[in-house]
């Protein structure tokens, strides 16, 4: 192994290979791509939350300059295009499949949320397309919308879909109801909370974009798009929406500027671009503007929950029951059904030995933008419920919040640990993370700091969150039995060139995660190749053999493991070539860090020589194929379970209601860490989004009209640098026992842990549990008013 490669392997804080092109403006995003003869799509969108389309008149619009075509839902229907699908079928309490009403790529009879597609104009320029959109006349019969799940379930509420009575997508349950009721019956104390998990808008920096292109000569369709999972998109478009042969469709997801889940899904717009491109035999491009992004990118969260925790007199958890209403929005998005069920209720054990858990979840349609996975997807909602309850219980019972957690943690000796909600936790040391977090936060001296703050007229609070995450959804057989329509493996291919450089093809997709570096580090470590000689290729179904994409913090645990498998195959073949070159038996060849050698001799052959020999096989084992490349698939045997403890400390200005975060500690266990700098970056970003949810962000619809009130950054409050503290980051490491890298995943942890930690700190400062996210200055001030703190402060 070269010295260079030695400093670039697993565990090294290598600088990200991709940053040079991103930071110098040389990234290549979908909107940077232009195809010869390209036309542009612009959508007419519904100004109403709920309306019947009585008529659409495109006469004037089609006479506008540059217009090539105008299509409405009827044109799409005439071509028998399938609706968009939900790829995960959840079965309700009675075993009936969820209700997945038809989701047309352009609305046919009804529009069901502000921003719903009513028509598309295809024109020679974006400006012309937009001009024509404005000239389309639509006669709507405006209907009364419903936007809040609590209203949508009431008798007489507006019905979003005629074939979904009561707006009920499903009424689902999980866990042991009888055992849970028994636990509550014997409880010494019961803590109850009403919680709202606020709806969020994902807001990746790069808006969605797509180009559909059709080549009649080869009958091939190409889609350039902002996707986190190009192969999955290809599968959905081919097998469900268009009925096209998969080998005639290529999906390319080039550089993608952030996704946070929102770019997992199959959306109407890219589907329309593909359909229109095939119809017009011209490339069709669409790029979302920021307003469209707010209106149509799948939102996240939006739960209303009643939760109860039963405890014995010593604060030991006996049972947990949760009743949640989850807002699905107007249509069932690609993986929406799984988020408030399997990604939520299965995590309700948290880090604790709670023996009995029961969850009921109702998924409800409303006249709002569809809701689907957003950074954490179900797991932040679960952690929020558990950790708010635990903290509230500790306060009610006068037990220190750290202590109540210690009393209930799953002990390190108990792994693998079977929870009452199906999961088998792989490994962990929860008390160790808590101890380290308390040390870093100087938890013991908090009362002194609180008293000091009170002397300055400030309300100080501290909040803990011991979160659990589940990454790398798997194995395929299990998720299949739970209703997933796909397998959740990952694939990799490693291909050496004759000169010793390497291509790594991965089905995972990087849109900020740094795969080009992390995955190259794994290969560098395993095969002894310097980082700059490794090219990680992703995001093109024509180059990467197969893939499932990136979401749920799965890329390293699943995709990285596939890479390791492929590397092992390379080494196996390399041994045969090396044995031949060294005139020895394969059994005597050992391999270490890029060098093959013969036990007990000084004979050595480096990997580069093996690669060269594989392609210039002049002196080569007679029974061996030339070439040095290997493919591997990896289907994990279980999820991985990262966990950790975050501690937030805040100071509230009781005059203004402004919350200032004065300290933040995060101690995470992600298993083995490949690149600590990238991991820390992921933690920082995740916490920023979690702080955003707890303090700043929230999608607001007008209850009467269903208009989106937070449709721009003037009203939707994104976290900014000055909202965020400097974090104190600690790591502990309990390797995952069931994947070859021992890794668990880190992408969502911050967003999972932060909201509960911060809200626990704020509720501690305010002395009441009754405040919902986002805890804006207005809401905090209103709570202070109701407590009359203000008078005390004056």
């Amino acid at each position: 192994m070269t010295n260079q490669a030695a400093n670039q392997g697993i565990g090294q804080a290598v600088r990200r290979k991709e940053d040079f092109r991103f930071l110098t403006g040389q990234g290549h995003y979908t909107d940077d791509i232009n195809r010869p003869g390209q036309l542009y799509a612009a959508f007419l969108r519904s100004p109403h939350a709920f309306a019947k389309i009585k008529s659409i008149d495109t006469t004037a619009a089609s006479k506008k300059p540059g217009v090539v075509a105008i299509y409405t839902g009827k044109d799409v229907a005439a071509d028998k295009v399938g609706g968009l699908i939900c790829g995960w079928t959840v079965k309700d309490k009675k075993g009936e499949p969820h209700k997945a009403p038809r989701h047309d790529i352009i609305a046919v009879e009804y529009v069901r949320h502000v921003g719903d597609q009513v028509a598309v104009v295809i024109a020679d320029t974006v400006a012309h397309a937009k001009d024509a959109v404005e000239a389309i006349q639509v006669d709507y019969e405006v209907l009364k919308p419903v936007v809040d799940v609590r209203e949508a379930v009431k008798p007489g509420a507006p019905q979003v879909h005629p074939d979904v009575p009561g707006n009920l997508c499903y009424d689902w349950e999980f866990g042991d109801k009888a055992a849970t009721e028994k636990a509550f019956a014997s409880a010494a104390h019961i803590t109850k909370l009403e919680l709202v998990n606020n709806r969020l808008s994902p807001n990746p920096m790069e808006p969605r974009s797509a180009i559909g292109e059709y080549d009649p000569g080869t009958d091939t369709t190409t889609v350039y798009t902002t996707s986190q999972n190009p192969h999955v998109l290809r599968l959905i478009l081919c097998a469900f929406v268009f009925g096209l042969p998969e080998h005639k469709v290529r999906v390319i997801a080039p550089d993608v500027g952030g996704g946070f889940g929102s770019k997992i899904f199959n959306y109407p717009e890219e589907t329309v671009c593909v359909w229109a491109a095939r119809k017009l035999k011209k490339p069709i491009k669409w790029t979302s503007d920021r307003t469209e992004a707010f209106l149509t990118d799948a939102h996240g969260r939006d739960h209303v929950t009643h939760a109860e925790l039963a405890l014995d007199k010593d604060g030991k958890f006996l049972g947990l029951r949760v009743d949640t209403m989850a807002n699905m929005g107007a249509y069932l998005s690609t993986f929406a059904s799984a988020v408030p069920t399997y990604l939520y209720a299965l995590l309700l054990a948290g880090q604790y030995t709670t023996p009995a858990i029961y969850a009921e979840v109702k998924a409800i349609f409303t006249n709002t933008t569809p809701v689907d996975a957003y950074r954490g997807a179900g797991r932040p909602e679960a952690t929020y419920v558990v950790e708010r309850l635990v903290e509230a219980a500790a306060r009610e019972m006068n037990i220190d919040p750290a202590e109540i957690r210690r009393r209930n943690f799953i002990p390190p000796t108990a792994f693998p640990y079977q929870t009452p909600v199906a999961c088998v936790y792989d490994s962990g040391n929860y008390a160790k993370a808590l101890d380290e977090a308390c040390r870093l936060a100087d938890y013991a001296n908090f009362p002194k700091r609180k008293a000091e703050a009170a002397r300055k007229g400030k309300l100080r609070g501290i909040g803990l969150c011991a979160y659990i995450e589940a990454c790398g959804l798997a194995p395929s057989s299990v998720v299949g039995s739970l209703g997933a329509g796909v397998g959740l493996w990952e694939s990799a291919q490693i291909r050496f060139n004759a000169t010793g450089t390497v291509f790594v093809y991965t089905g995972a997709h990087s849109h900020g995660q740094g795969h080009e570096t992390t995955f190259a580090q794994i290969v560098s470590d395993k095969l002894g190749v310097p980082l700059e000689n490794i090219e990680v290729v992703h995001g093109d179904t024509a180059q990467v053999p197969m893939g499932m994409g990136t979401y749920g913090s799965r890329s390293l645990a699943v995709g990285g493991s596939a890479i390791v498998r492929a590397a092992d195959k390379i080494i196996e073949k390399g041994k045969k070539i090396a044995a031949h070159l060294m005139e020895a038996s394969v059994d005597d060849v050992t391999y270490d860090k890029g060098v093959f050698s013969i036990k007990g001799t000084d004979k050595q052959v480096p990997m580069a020589q093996v690669a060269f020999t594989a392609y210039v096989p002049h002196n080569y084992p007679p029974d061996l194929e030339p070439g040095l490349e290997a493919s591997a698939f990896y289907d994990p045997s279980n999820f991985t379970f990262p966990a950790g403890v975050h501690i937030a400390e805040v100071e509230i200005d009781s005059d203004t209601g402004v919350t200032t975060i004065v300290n933040w500690v995060a101690v995470d266990d992600f298993g083995k860490v490949i690149n600590p700098m990238i991991v820390e970056g992921q933690v920082h970003g995740g916490i920023a989004q979690g702080i955003g949810q707890a303090l700043l962000e929230g999608v607001v619809y007008d209850q009467e009209s269903g208009q989106l009130l937070t449709a721009s950054f003037l009203d939707y409050c994104m976290p900014r640098a000055d909202n965020l503290p400097s974090y104190k980051i600690g790591m502990i490491e309990t390797p995952c026992p069931h994947n070859p890298l021992g890794v668990k995943g880190c992408g969502e942890a911050g967003a999972i842990a932060a909201p509960a930690a911060l809200m626990n700190a704020i509720t501690d400062a305010l002395g009441t549990e009754k405040i919902d996210m986002p805890a804006t200055p207005l809401k905090v001030w209103q709570v202070i008013q109701s407590h009359n703190f203000a008078a005390a402060a004056e």
């Binding site: 400006a127 937009k130 001009d131 404005e134 307003t291 005059d655 203004t656 209601g657 700043l696 607001v700 009130l709 937070t710 950054f713 003037l714 009203d715 939707y716 409050c717 994104m718 804006t776 200055p777 207005l778 001030w781 209103q782 004056e794």
Partner: protein
């Protein structure tokens, strides 16, 4: 954005003529309000007349009694001016807190006050300092200039040329930014001027206004404590998802007290 004719005159007269001859003309200064409006297709002027090519509209002059700032002077220039910082530090501070660096390097004083966004910063300084607005036709006293939400005393085609800020004995400006937009949710500009105490409140209502009860209290005792008992009526305050009328009314008191503290140094 819809198509329009773009002009960049070099004299005030040409600018005024271009506007009067256009079917639907608009002046352009820093473009920080007008351009986003155009990009969102919310306005479709036939002609856009850029004022930034007129040399006499830009610049800062400080005399013994007044700071005079040309209409197309950028916020960043005011924020960075050593002379402004010395003469009216509260004014430089106000300019330094508008938007972000990009906005400050483009946005102008004239554009800000001509637009009279209830959530803009500058109107508080103009009113609080009892400034005089100069146009290509006349001078307008601050008390007469801001007439309502996005409305001013400017007539069609009238161009703000400069604003003359009398140098106060002391002044302070504090704002509570809207958490999302960072425009003003509630701001208070408090000044002790030759004309007496002035308290201008921006962000809270549909238009910047003077808080006469606070002015009277401060005239007796220029200290934060003098404002403690004064309640501001929530009726007439703005009410939105970020702040209720009651909250804004409350913040008027808090910001005013803090502005007095700032003025006292």
């Amino acid at each position: 954005m819809y198509a329009f004719n773009y002009h960049r005159p070099s004299s005030l007269d040409d600018a005024a003529k271009l506007l009067s001859s256009a079917s639907d003309g608009k002046f352009l200064a820093g473009g920080q309000t007008l351009l986003p409006t155009l990009k969102q297709r919310l306005a479709s002027p036939s002609d856009v007349i850029d004022l930034t090519g007129i040399p006499q509209l830009s610049g800062i002059t400080v005399s013994g009694s007044a700071v005079t700032i040309g209409a197309t002077t950028r916020h960043a220039a005011v924020a960075a001016s050593a002379e402004v910082k010395k003469a009216i530090p509260a004014l430089a501070k106000l300019a330094s807190g508008i938007g972000d660096p990009q906005v400050r390097n483009m946005g102008t004083l004239g554009g800000s006050i001509a637009n009279n966004d209830p959530a803009a910063d500058y109107p508080a300084a103009v009113l609080g300092l009892c400034a005089t607005v100069h146009t290509n036709k006349r001078t307008i006293a601050a008390d007469d200039f801001f007439t309502g939400m996005f409305e001013t005393a400017l007539e069609e085609g009238e161009i703000v040329t400069k604003v003359e800020f009398p140098i106060p004995k002391r002044a302070g400006y504090v704002k509570f930014p809207n958490p999302a937009s960072r425009y003003v949710m509630v701001g208070a500009f408090v000044a002790e001027t030759a004309d007496g105490i002035r308290v201008a409140i921006n962000g809270a209502g549909p238009c910047v206004f003077r808080h006469t009860e606070m002015e009277a209290a401060l005239a007796k005792n220029f200290s934060p404590d003098a404002l403690k008992g004064i309640r501001t009526d929530p009726a007439g305050m703005n009410n939105d998802i970020h702040a209720s009328a009651e909250y804004r009314a409350h913040l008027v008191g808090v910001m005013a007290r803090r502005a007095v503290e700032a003025a006292l140094g």
